[in-house]
Amino acid sequence: MDLSGTPAVELRNVSKTFTSAKLGETLLALDNVSFSIQRGQFFVILGPSGSGKTTILNLVAGFEPPTHGQVLAMGKPIRGPSWQRAVVFQEHALFPWLTVADNIAFGLRMKEIPKRTRRDKVAEYIDVVGLSGFADKYPKELSGGMKQRVGIARALAVDSDIVIMDEPLGALDAQTRAEMQGELLRILQHEKRKTVLFVTHSIEEALKLGDEILVMSARPGRVKQVFHLSQARPRSILTDPEILQMNVELHRLLHRDT
């Protein structure tokens, strides 16, 4: 069977409710959400806090099951976490007891890739993310931006179909963040058609990076609108008239909510 036409990720009428045992209240985090992510796409989910962005991410990563509906990856229902859907976390979540090289090698070790291949792959990714000379440092010795480079390298080295990024640049200062947006584009050029699911609440970041931007509304989380961008990257979000128009539109959509 040829699966090349199957979307990388698909949500079909997905709802998710959380029940607070203490208050006995039910919270509807996602309400009948459907969308699909094509292979090789850089797919951005944009929304205010409380719009269920992180919930979608947890469903796709396989950390939590949906209450209703179906979540599919490569056409198959997601049953739990898998290296095929590697995650880059906002808080980077590096293993503090492992060096930069060992953090990047972690997924490869879990996959029981032979040591030699592993070493080559780690060296390659240390180079790709621009951390040459830092292989033997521990995470506590790195700056925030450098930690996130390790987090990105770690998720890419495992060679998954899909990389999930949960506001990966959200914890960085403005200057480092702008720099890392460019770096992320450069790093992803090294990857052949990897599907990226990228969660953010920054309109600017979404416009700079996304092939597609899914706008969520808050409480309950619903799909509000989807934007397509075909402009080549890196993009200037201040000169392209179409992007400028989208920028205005996105601000209007998001600020009505908050």
Binding site: F63, W83, V87, A93, F95, P96, K140
Partner: protein, 255 residues
């Protein structure tokens, strides 16, 4: 800067002053009020003299050796049982619930309360001391091991799972190293407890060891012997903790 037992030489000033003060009080001030002061509160040089005598006849090292052996055996046995037990309780919640009442009822019993039972079961001697030392250190190691596993950040588990770890690999490659710092804290507290009850158990149920030496000083009317015994107990406890802290740094260079 020169270092001695991880302390800078300059930082020993207060220690030296305390000894000087001790000397002044014991040799000049107290004797002015009490003619019998020597037999109650010996000066530092008398303590050193006593130590010298016991070193030259080999008795001091015999008692230190006996005490250390008891601590090492009791403490190691506690660690060998408490760490795997704690890990298993951390890994399997059902097993932990099974164990929790037993542990929670036994834990608050002061280890000293076990000394009479130890004497009844094992009589006067090594085994009794080892038993009480085991009891004293086992709970802090056990509870800290469990707490260490509880404290593993959920995001690290998720991170490992999304990089392809299965349950077994998650345990060996994430939970164990993440819990290690807390386990070492448990070992340090356990060792401190072990050393504390050692003396109590030797005071009551032994004919050798540093605790016995202290008790013996009263029978002999030799307070310098008690002072010496106490100082050696303090000093060895200090050195043992430095040893564990060094081990901590070697095991966990990332901290």
């Amino acid at each position: 800067m020169r270092r001695f037992l991880s302390v800078r030489v300059w930082d020993l000033t207060t220690t030296v002053l305390v000894v000087v003060l001790w000397e002044i009080v014991a040799d000049y001030i107290y004797p002015a009020f009490n003619a019998n002061s020597r037999n109650i509160f010996p000066p530092p040089w008398a303590v050193v003299q006593t130590a010298g005598n016991l070193i030259s006849n080999g008795e001091l090292f015999h008692h230190i050796g006996v005490s250390l052996l008891r601590v090492v055996v009791g403490f190691s046995a506690a660690a060998l049982i408490a760490i795997p037990l704690g890990l298993s309780m951390g890994a399997w919640p059902g097993w932990r619930r099974q164990m929790s009442v037993v542990v929670e009822v036994l834990r608050p019993i002061p280890p000293f309360a076990w000394i009479p039972i130890g004497l009844l079961w094992f009589g006067v001697g090594d085994t009794q001391s080892i038993f009480v030392i085991f009891i004293a250190s086992v709970f802090s190691i056990l509870l800290n091991t469990v707490a260490g596993i509880d404290a593993v950040e959920p995001i690290l588990r998720r991170s490992a799972l999304s990089l392809g770890a299965d349950r077994r690999k998650l345990f060996y490659h994430v939970i164990l190293p993440a819990a290690l710092p807390q386990i070492v804290v448990g070992l340090r507290i356990g060792l401190a407890f072990a050393w504390m009850v050692l003396v109590a158990s030797e005071l009551i149920g032994s004919t050798s060891g540093l605790g016995y030496l202290i008790l013996d000083s009263r029978n002999l009317g030799l307070p310098s012997l008690a002072f010496m015994g106490m100082l050696i107990i303090g000093l060895i406890g200090y050195i043992l903790d430095i040893g564990l802290r060094t081990l901590e740094r070697m095991l966990m260079p990332w901290r």
